[in-house]
Symmetry: C2
Subunit: 314 residues, 2 copies
């Protein structure tokens, strides 16, 4: 594997770059994709960033000045994509021609011609932060905001176990470079619409407990989402709720798929237990304390399957 | 005013030290008090830390190894106390004989013989962190945990406007020194009892909005606290809730006093408006984005008075 210096040299020699991010985008992949794109453009290169689902409203403040460029694509780079299956429908045709994969997921499928995976980094944005340090040139304020967003969201605002001293030091430097941390943190972690608050109240009221309160489950159905007119992107933050109840060791959030009601996207959050191991039993993956997978079946049967597996890890 | 070096030299020459913290203790005053006490003891000095209300259950993990020492008190130091009125009943007899006040509140009354106030520090624990850097010697793991707790709680886990690059760099170093950040963050920010969750949901459901949603108010009455069997110390975190509703610029939480039902402790959280200025109108104080005061009257009249004042700042 190349080191940061090698990666910096490689990218410095490239131009006309398409950057791919993963479907159901989160703060780290949007932050990383836009940061890399802005940074390369500031170097005088041409670059675009693509997402199969577009950029969700809650991240739009990072892409305000962004427009697609016209160029003949010469290199394809993926950021924060652990598996080509996560590229989504609109980008899957890139699967077998990705030149470089930049990521921090330990479970990376290393699908690209070159793979730069730093599993010790709290976020892909932290990988990019280190990379930019090696490429020289001072990241602009918007690049700093993008990187800060990825680091903050992937570490749960510096709360999760995956937070490192390096993540804090990067945050300090990114603040100095102009990252709009107060606004980002409010947008990412605090502000909720009245509708979302109301929905949250009902979901919290409906938490189901198993194994003497060691496992807590929230089930979000399509019916519920429609009833409260909830933006699906807003639901990402819900995944941490069940684990925050006193005594809970494994928190599970199940979200019914819009286009496939017989299928639930499951988020696992744990203390003690290995969330990634549980997710892998269902073909998913992720990190030790936060992982995800997809479980098929009705709400009840999907719940039964995931809880039965999770129980083994208590 | 003495600088950090002078402060380090001063404290190094003292022994038999009583450390005072403020009533209704929060993470920063408990963290600072215990950190200073542990640090001085590790230097071979005798020191105790006192609080008028004792150490609340939620901070007890920081004082597990702590016992009071017997000695003839020679010096008195207050930490995180902006005004002697905040010492509380059991400590008010110290008011006129405090040798040194260490604090970060801009509104400090500078009541001690020597006052070391660093208003640019995110927390009093950050002042102590800098101080210990100047005193030499490596802080122990428990000192690191105490300091981390104060910095994390006063910055809302690095989210608030008062977060500085220095706060992040201190956090990085404190993690390396053994601060149990994951456990601390879970305890301070995430874990809630089922009772607290239920109470929170009811309070959120009862939020009152003024000025087209620019001001949001939560009123917590004694009746409510009794009904749900809530630990009053647990209610501190509630103060940030009203500001987290989309569109709210000033969030107000009013808590009826246990011993004086005609009196409400008011917490102000703001974006844009100066919370401290509003609080000062009612004899309170604090920071630009977070401040507090006491307002007397029935729930309705107290609410009317504080909202009428807050409106002027929208």
């Amino acid at each position: 594997m190349i080191d940061y210096e090698g990666l910096a040299a490689l990218l410095s020699g490239w131009d006309n770059i398409t950057i791919l991010t993963h479907k159901s985008p989160d703060g780290d992949c949007i932050g990383a994709g836009l940061a890399l794109c802005y940074y390369l453009r500031a170097m005088g290169k041409r670059a675009n960033v693509l997402n199969s689902d577009g950029i969700p409203q809650r991240f739009s403040f990072l892409s305000e000045g962004y427009t697609q460029q016209e160029f003949e694509e010469r290199h394809v780079v993926s950021v924060d994509v652990a598996d080509t299956q996560l590229l989504g429908e609109r980008l899957e045709h890139y699967s077998d021609r990705i030149d470089l994969c930049i990521d921090h997921h330990r479970t990376s499928k290393r699908f690209a011609a070159r793979n730069f995976i730093d599993p010790d980094a709290s976020a892909t944005c932290l990988v990019l932060y280190e990379l930019f340090e090696h490429m020289g040139g001072t990241p602009s304020g918007i690049v700093a905001s993008c990187l800060y967003t990825g680091i903050a969201t992937d570490t749960g605002c510096f709360k999760f176990q995956n937070t490192t001293p390096a993540a804090h030091r990067a945050a300090a430097r990114l603040m100095e470079l102009g990252a709009d941390y107060e606004e980002i943190n409010r947008r990412m972690f605090d502000i909720k619409s009245r509708g979302r608050l109301a929905a949250e109240q009902i979901l919290i009221g409906g938490i189901r407990y198993f194994d003497e309160g060691g496992i807590a489950v929230i089930v979000i159905t399509n019916e519920f989402i429609e009833k409260y007119g909830i933006d699906r992107a807003e639901l990402d933050g819900m995944a941490s709720i069940p684990l925050n109840v006193e005594g809970v060791k494994i928190g599970i959030t199940m979200k019914q798929q819009e286009d496939n009601p017989e299928c639930f996207k499951v988020s696992l959050r744990t203390v003690c237990a290995d969330a990634c191991e549980i997710a892998e039993k269902f073909g998913g993956g992720g990190h030790v304390r936060a992982a995800g997978c997809t479980v098929s079946g009705s709400a009840d049967s999907a719940l039964l399957r995931i809880v039965s597996e999770a129980e083994k890890y208590l």
